[in-house]
Symmetry: C2
Subunit: 339 residues, 2 copies
């Protein structure tokens, strides 16, 4: 390796002590403006790049944020099989980069391994996507580090949260279909887990039916996993079982894509024969033919806010746990018709 410029070189060049240079570089108070300028101009001229590995030990700051995104869906070993996660992660990476932080992302298979990662890497903070066990959250608390939870309804330790109102989203989607004359609405979803996002969308679905005087029918509910293949399978079951279905509320756009494929493969038309409602507003929802009407959440904003909160907490600028709920809205496209 070509000789690396170290803090020692900066000290020699400026005639200051290493401690004094370090003081400036760590942005401590009480540094005289002339000294600061002297150091910063030497840093630029010499091309000095601080080594975070060394610096992390001294300052206890690694400028690394960990993102934990679980493989919740059985059988999917890769993190980004659902484009929702790739979009969220892209946004987190972008925001961190703008602020001089880097991101370590781990698609942990087990709760434990992520906490291990946090210790191994001296992370400054963690963004945790999805729902985990109670024990995981209490272990997380013990790690005593800024944490932002994204998309969870289990928060016994009162961490910061960024989420949407999933019950309301389920209600909006169902009401939108009911308002257009649909009564036999299949519910096609990921796994229904207590306090999970899907369960709340389901609660919203039931509530909207009830308010409109439509009897809830358990046989119209098809839980699977959040994937294209599961959407394909669940829609097949729905179509085989109930010929009266006129609409499908799919709790994720990736599921909606599978359901659409199933419907079209059978020679049925969308929306003439079957209307399809999605959730998320992935780019994909616009790419398909017909494009998918969906409950839009601002995934990019979700990532951006998670980063903003974690950086504020790292800088000790937050005293109370924050809970931010992002708005939802329906984006009307081509996959739903009025009966």
């Amino acid at each position: 390796m070509s000789k690396r410029i170290t803090i020692k070189d900066v000290a020699e060049d400026t005639g200051l002590s290493i401690a004094a240079v370090s003081y400036v570089l760590n942005d401590k108070e009480g540094v005289r403006p002339e000294t600061r300028e002297l150091v910063l101009s030497a840093v630029e001229r010499l091309g000095y790049v601080p080594n975070y590995t060394a610096r992390g030990l001294a300052s206890h700051k690694s400028r690394l944020i960990g993102v934990c995104s679980p493989q919740t869906e059985p059988g999917s070993k890769l993190m980004f099989d659902n484009p929702f996660y790739s979009k969220l992660f892209s946004s987190i990476e972008y925001e961190c980069r703008q602020e001089g932080y880097h991101v370590i992302v781990s698609g942990t298979d087990a709760d434990e391994s992520f906490l291990k990662l946090a210790q191994q890497r001296s992370l400054d903070g963690m963004i945790i996507v999805g729902s985990y066990s109670k024990e995981f959250y209490s272990d997380l608390k013990k790690a005593n580090m800024p944490v932002v939870l994204v998309d969870t309804y289990q928060n016994p330790e009162r961490f910061h949260e960024v989420k949407v109102d999933d019950r309301r989203g389920g209600h909006m989607a169902t009401k939108y279909l009911i308002d257009r004359g649909h009564r036999d609405i299949a519910f096609i979803s990921g796994a229904l887990r207590e306090q999970g996002v899907t369960q709340l969308r389901f609660d919203g679905y039931r509530q909207a039916l009830e308010e409109s005087g439509i009897a809830y029918q358990k046989r119209l509910v098809f839980p699977g996993v959040v994937s294209f293949e599961s959407g394909l399978d669940c829609a097949a079951k729905a179509l085989d079982q109930s010929s009266e279905i006129t609409a499908m509320f799919c709790t994720a756009d990736i599921i909606a894509m599978g359901a659409m494929k199933q419907v079209l493969q059978r020679g049925l038309k969308i929306p003439q024969d079957i209307s399809i409602m999605g959730f998320d507003n992935l780019n994909l929802a616009e790419y398909t033919s017909p494009s998918i009407t969906t409950v839009a959440q601002d995934i990019e904003m979700k990532g951006k806010l998670a980063v903003e909160i974690i950086l504020e907490d790292i800088d000790n600028r937050i005293s109370e746990p924050r809970c931010i709920e992002l708005p939802l809205k329906i984006i009307e496209r081509e996959s739903i018709r009025r009966l």
Copy 2:
């Protein structure tokens, strides 16, 4: 934070010196089996997790791999707008995780910032996706660290490479269409850059036309960027300009999705009116209706091999630069018909 177990605790517990414990943990030779067992059982019992930040300084190993994936497409600030990158990255992350490495990914905007990242984080190795300037490669060489290039044809410094034969891919795709009776084949692509992947696919396209005695027509070539929107626009131009086009060879599935949307929006049918050939075999190619016939590259394998090579190099098990070329094949789906 609850008291963290350190190497000192392991030393006290075993009655060994810190140096001796470190010796075992760093897997050095010449350790007696009894000593090794003593240390490892204490590590497990006490729940000691090595801190890579501290360890990195001592061993000069960070167990961190950097992945550089550029925003080559103007206007796209997020890394994973093209699912090709999210799939490749997912695979790299998965393989690294299995081997006890973590991944820092950076969607650098400038060449320089990634080299800075490598120094700041004391990366053990770098996986570089895409093509860069000559200066970037020579700077990379100076960093004197294991590097694997993915999908580039510029390799003046003889780094390891993993790629596909893009010229052959372009040839295969075009020949497949010609064999099915197509002669007026639009070429819809990303930017044509010298030594870039797209340029080579274009060369293959021209060669296949020539071999079949079909005159190359510049007006059937529509370079844009690698995105859905660009596919939509370029296909519009193609359809507006040449009514004789019967097929479109799109050099990426994400472009093919845009082209499909344009064709279907105009009331034309795929493949009855226009045949579409994609490239990459993203999951998406299967999700659309009709599904997309495409030149398949094994993106997961590309990531896996890049990781295998970099880890071998880190462990000094490679002496010569490796160049691996993965096979391509056409996956037949529903978007192409025989004339």
